[in-house]
């Protein structure tokens, strides 16, 4: 059980790096979607007795993060008919190395943090930290609005992983609320993307740093 869990978290950490290395928007969206899908099934591995709520939550998370949100992003991408190339502020090789460094540092850091005995053998905490840092890196180091949304998704996946540590003590309804917020957020960002596109004819968020009349 723990081995499968660690394997899935390891795959999620690999998908962080895939998102950092992808030079095209569709592959970045795919990496974020796959990560959401992989992390969606984790609650089923952590809990032994499957309640209806738990299964519904896992299915809902996997469905929302793996299919609904990515398809919204793809639609926004097609609607805005933008160039598919990702424009990095930090190059692909440096961002890959930074992501790997973050993953290793997360491993080292989580060794010294006090954890519950049932979590000390899992990679939940390092995975959460690494995913959150990689998501933040994606938001900072990419210029296009859609790639920043992907970064936000990865960041949220990190927060979700962190939340799994508290699975026993927080009701899954909280996570449902977060998921709802996320979906609404993606909707809003979709509208914003459309607005940016109409105003500037590109999705480069660097255009938004200056104030105009």
């Amino acid at each position: 059980m723990t081995d499968t869990l660690n394997l899935l978290i390891g795959i999620a950490a690999g998908l962080n790096l895939l998102a950092l290395a992808s030079s095209r928007l569709p592959s970045m969206i795919r990496a974020a979607a796959l990560q959401g899908l992989v992390l969606g099934v984790l609650p089923l591995l952590l809990e032994d007795d499957w309640s209806v709520l738990l299964v519904a939550m896992a299915a809902g998370t996997a469905l929302a993060k793996g299919f609904v949100i990515p398809s919204l992003l793809r639609r926004a991408m097609h609607a805005a008919s933008i160039d598919r190339e990702v424009e990095p502020l930090i190059g692909f090789v440096p961002s890959l190395l930074l992501g790997a460094l973050a993953t290793i540092l997360a491993m080292l850091l989580s060794r010294s943090l006090p954890l519950l005995p049932e979590h000390s053998r899992t990679l939940l905490l390092p995975g959460a930290l690494a995913t959150a840092i990689c998501g933040a890196l994606l938001i900072m180091a990419r210029t296009k609005a859609i790639s920043q949304v992907c970064g936000y998704l990865v960041l949220e996946n990190g927060a979700y992983l962190f939340g799994l540590l508290l699975l026993r003590s927080t009701p899954l309804l909280v996570e449902a609320g977060i998921l709802l917020d996320l979906t609404v957020g993606i909707f809003v960002i979709g509208i914003v993307v459309d607005r940016i596109q109409r105003e500037f004819d590109s999705l480069d968020t660097r255009n938004l740093t200056e104030l105009h009349e």
């Binding site: 390891g10 290395a21 890959l96 790997a100 993953t103 290793i104 491993m107 053998r121």
Partner: protein, 307 residues
Amino acid sequence: MIAWAEPVASTLLRAIAWIALAPLVPGIIHRTKAWIAGRRGPPILQLYYDLARLWRKEVVWSSVASPMHLLGPAVAWVAVLGAALLVPTDAAHAGLDLPGSAILFVYLLALARFGTAAAAMDTGSAFEGMGAAREVSYAVLSEVALVTGLLALSVHGGSASLAHMFDASGGVGSALLAGGLFVVLLAENCRVPFDDPNTHLELTMVHEVMVLDHSGPPLAVILHGASLKLAIFSVLLVKAVVPLGQHSPLVAVAVLGAAAAGVGVGVGIAESLMARLAFRRVPLLLTTAFLLNLFALLVEVEGGRLR
């Protein structure tokens, strides 16, 4: 029987086996590529015929070449053969058991590359200089990946001697190592997607351009050295990934040979499916290989702690 006779005889035997069997690997790769493309392709033994033909030809010396032009290929071949002898071919009769031979292995391969590159630049041809520059700049990145992979293996095996560090677990770490070492194999041996061995357009050649001025027996030595290096990396990849330790020596050697041939088929398939990468995309792929090996190392270190 003198005490040192047995190891010396076994080493000699393994050297002869390496020399005799290495040209098979490029033959398998070419055959696979031809098969996928729907051609009949050259015979698997083609490289043997080529080597025999080159060995009979006379050498044409450039008028500006120094002795380095001959010395380079010779040094490279001996260094690659030395590296081959360090790689254990089965569990019982391990390779030359030197402490820290993993480091010697990396340095011997680097020495071989230096020999080829120095011989290439010796004639002062601009194209060959360019090829040497490209080969060495690929090597800067692929060597990091190779050393990281060897480090992961030595952490797993608990030894820095190549003879003792191949104790494959067949787990996640092995899967990562397989990916990383396969990319290193392609890069170190100048295969597609890093270099196209069939191209004859000077601007795009990397390894092939370095040997343009060589002819006759020195060229044969270079070609044989290249095939030997390919064989070394195939065996290294198999030893790193496939658990062979529990089998009897004979079975282990048979499995090793079959798996190394399988790696040749894999290279052929990869070359048929992929196009050459744009030059500026190469560092990304080599960094990926480095990270795969780095995470294999991480799995070894963390896995030991979590278990």
